[in-house]
Amino acid sequence: MTPIQITKSTPGNHENNRFGAVKSGGLILFLIGMVIFLSTLFRGDFKITQQSLQQSGNKVSTARLQNLQPLVGKFYTSKKRALAEIRNTLREAEPQIDAYNLGVAQFWVLKNAAAGVFKDQTVLYFFLSIILAIVGGLLYIIPQFYEGLPGIKHNNIWFSSAMARGAIGITIGTLFIAFYILLYWFPQYIVNMVLLVDPVSYFIRNMPADQWFLYGFLYTLTIIVMGLRMLAKYRHSRYHIIRTFSIIFFQLIFAFLLPSLLERLSMPSMDLKNAWPLNYYFFTDWNINSLWGGGSFGQFLFIWGIILSFAGVPLLTYFYGKRWYCSWVCGCGGLAETLGDPFRHLSDKSLRAWKVERITIYSVLVFALVMTFMQVVNYTSNGDIFGNYTWRVNQAYSFFIGAAFAGVVGTGFYPFMGNRVWCRFGCPLAAILGIVQRFKSRFRITTNGGQCISCGNCSTYCEMGIDVRAYAQRGENIVRASCVGCGVCAAVCPRGVLRLENGPAGNRFNLIKSDAIN
C-alpha cells in the first residue's frame, strides 16, 4: 500500500491576507538591498596611489608596501585583476610569502585603493544595501505574526520552500556558506562590503573596518532584526520575550559595543561573556600576553575570564541549567535563537543522530582540552616542551573547529540541519555545560502527568533534536545534557505538558507515579 504523503495542494484563498501588500513590498525592498549588497562583490574600481599604500601602513609591513611601489598609479576596474597583480608583484619580490600574509596585504592594499561609487558614496550605498535590506526584511517578517491572534505561529512551515529544504532554503544555505568561506579565507574578495561599514566603524571605534568588524556588525544586526521577529512571534509568551531581550542585550552590548569601545580606547578588548573553551584562544600565549600585559584592566579581563569559565559557568548551570548561557547569553546561541528560529524543526530527532552527536561533541571537547593543555604548558614553559606543535594544533583547531565547524557548518547548515548544528554536534562549552546539567543541576523539564497526546510538536520543534515526546508520553521528566532550555517545546505543546523549571537537584527524573501515564 502507498505510504501516506500529505503535501499541501491548496493554492489557498487569500481573502484575509491582511498584510499581503506590506509583506510583498518588504520582500522587494529586502531583495533590492541584498542585490545591491551582493553587487559590491562584482563592481567597484580601485586606484592604487602612494597615499592608499600608506594607509595600509599599520596593517602591512613597510617593506612589503615598498615592494608594491610598481603598482602606484594603476587603476583597475576589475577586482580580480587588481588582486592578481598585487599577488604577482608581492610574490616576485618575496617568493616565500605565505598565503595568510599575502591575503592580509591584498585585503588592505585593495580596500584602501577602493575608488568609484562605493568609495565616494559609501553612506548612500550603506543605506541602499544593508539598511534597505533590514527595513524590507522587517516589513516582510514582522506583520505576518499580527495577521492572527497571539499564539503559536507554525502554520505551513513544512510547505515552505525556505523552511523545509526547498529551493529557497538551499539558496539561503548556499549564500550563508559562501559568505563564511569568503569571510574566513578570502576576505580580500569582500573589501567593498567591508568598505560599506567603514563609516560605522569610524563612528564606533575610530578605525577602519576589517572583515571582522563587518561580521560583528552584520551578526549583531541580524540578531536584533530576527530578535524583533521572535518578539512578534512569541508576543504571548513572556519567557520568550525576556529571553530574546537578553540575547539582544548580550550581543549588542557585550559582544559588539563594549569590545569596540575598548578598541577605540586602545585598551585590551574581550567579549566578556565568551567563556573558555568556546573562546578557544583564551589560553594562547598571545592572548594571555595581551591581557596580562595590558595593565590592570587587561589583568582584570584575564581573571574575569578564568572566574567566568571555571566558577560562573558551572555554578549558574547548577542552578538554572545550561539555558542561562546557551539560550540567554551566548552569541552562537543567540544567532540560533533568532536567525535560526525558522529552521529549528530541521534538526534530526533519530536515535542515530543522538549517537553521532555524542561522538562528535565529546571529540571536539577532547580536542579543545588537549589544545588548552598544550597552550598552558607552552605558556608556562616558554614554548620549551611542545614548541611549534602548540601553534600547529591551534591552527588546526581554529581551521577545522573554529571556522569550518562553528562558522561554515554551524550557520551555513541552518536551512539543512536546523539551527543548532554547532551547539549540538560541536561546541565544547556546551559539552561541559551538558555534563553539569545532566549530572548535577536543579534544572529539568517537568512532564505534566498523563496529559501528553504524543502529538510530536515538542520533538519536532526541539532545535537540539531531542525526542522530547519519548519522555513526555511516559510521564518522565526530561533531563538531557544537550537541552539548551529554549523553552519552545513547552510553548508549542498543545496540551500544556511541559514546563522548564529549577528545583531540588535530587529526583529530577520523574516526580510522579501514576497509572494515568506510561
Binding site: S9, E15, G148, S160, S350, T446, S454, V492, P494, A516
Partner: protein, 444 residues
Amino acid sequence: MEHLVIIGNGITGITTARHVRKISDKRITIISAESDHFYSRPALMYIFMGHMRYPDTKPYEDWFWEKNKIELLRGLVTEIDSDNKTLSLADGSKIMYDQLVIATGSKSNKFGWPGQDLPGVQGLYSLQDLELLEKNSVGAKRAVIVGGGLIGIELVEMLLSRKIPVTMLVREKSYWDNILPQRESKLITRHILEHGIDLRCETNLKEIIADPDGRVCAVKTENGEEISCEIVGLTPGVAPNIEVVKNSQIAAGRGILVNDFFETNIPDVYAAGDCAEIVTPEGERNKIEQLWYTGRMHGKALAKTICGERTIYERGIWFNSAKFLDIEYQTYGFVSNVPRKGESSFYWEHAEGRMCLHLVYNAQNHALVGVNIFGIRMRHTVFEKWLTEKRTLEYVLEHLCEANFDPEFFAEFESEFVAQYNTQFPGQKLRLQGKRGLFNKIFA
C-alpha cells in the same frame, strides 16, 4: 509460543502490545488497515496545517517494532471466527490467534442527512480523511463545518490555516455547551468569533446540495438558509467502530461489550479503547471512553490481564485537555455543564476574557469536585492529589501556586482568585500560601 493478535494500531492496540512485550515473550502481531505504523491521531490536524509531517507524528521510530519483536501487518480484518480462532482479511488471507484484542477505535458519526455522501463532504478521523481533505480543499472558497465539539474546532483551525473561510453550524446555544458550563462555553464562543469564524449557533443542517457535476455546492439549514461552499465537514462526534464483530459471536451494543477486565463474552477475545463499551452494573450508563489517555490506560491494564495477571481497570481521577484555537483547556475531576444539585461554583475570569478558572465544589463540605481551566496551565499531579484527598475549595485557593504549571515569568493570578473569594465571602480571610515572587522565581 502463544500468538497474540491485535486489531488496530492506535494508542490502545500499541500500548497493549508494548506492555505485553515488557512482561512476556508471546508472539505479537498487530493488524491495521489505516497505516503501516502507529501515529498520533490527535496530531492529524498539525500535518494538514504544516506544523509537522506525517513521520513526525509517529511516536516510535520504525526500527522500534522489529527490535521489540512486534510484528506489524497492514490489512483489513473482515471476519472473526472465534470458534476456530481465525481472522479473515480483505485480501483473502487468514490468521490464527490464541488471544485476540480488538482495538478498532471509532468512526465518524453521520446522521442520515440528505447529501452526506456527496464528493466534498467528509469527516475527520483517519489519514485517509486527511488526504481527502487535501483534495477537497483545492480551490475551495468556503467550508461549512457541521457539529461543534473538539474535532469540529480542529477542522476549522485546519481550514483557516489554508485561509479558507469557514462557517460552523452548531446545534447548541453556544459552542460545546452540552459539555462546557455556560461561562466557559461563552468564552470559547467569543474566541471563535474573534478568529473571524462564521459561527452559527442553534442552527441545524437540513441537507447538502450538489452542483450539476454532483459535487457539493451548498448546504441548507433548517431555518431555510442556503450557504454555498465547496467543502462540508461533518463532525458531530464519533461512535465505536464495531464493523469487524458484526457477523461474529462477539457481543456488541453501541460498542463491543466488555467487563472491567476488557473481556468480551468470548474467552480469549478482548476489546479496549474507543471501540469498547464497558458494562457497568446497577443501571448506570455503560461507559465508552473515547480519549487518548483512556486508550493508553486500557491497554496498560489489559496487557497484564492478557499475560495472566488479571487486572481490573481503575479509572482514577478523570482529566482531559484540549486546545481551542489559541486557548488551552484542562479539566480535572468532574465539571458538569449544568450545575448539579448540591454543588457550588467558584468562577474567575480574566479581564481580557481568554482565561478563566472554574472550581466546582460540594456545597456542604466544600470538597473540590472538579475544575476547568482555560488559558492557564495546571499540574495534573497536584489536582489529582487534591481531588483524591477531597481538599476544600478554600484549601485549593490558598495553595493554587503549587498547581500552577505556566511557563516561568508568566503573569500569575492566584492572588486575584483569593481576593475575589474574599469579596464573595465577606466573612472569610483566605491567605495565599507559597507566593512565588521574584526571589522564589530565581532561587526556587
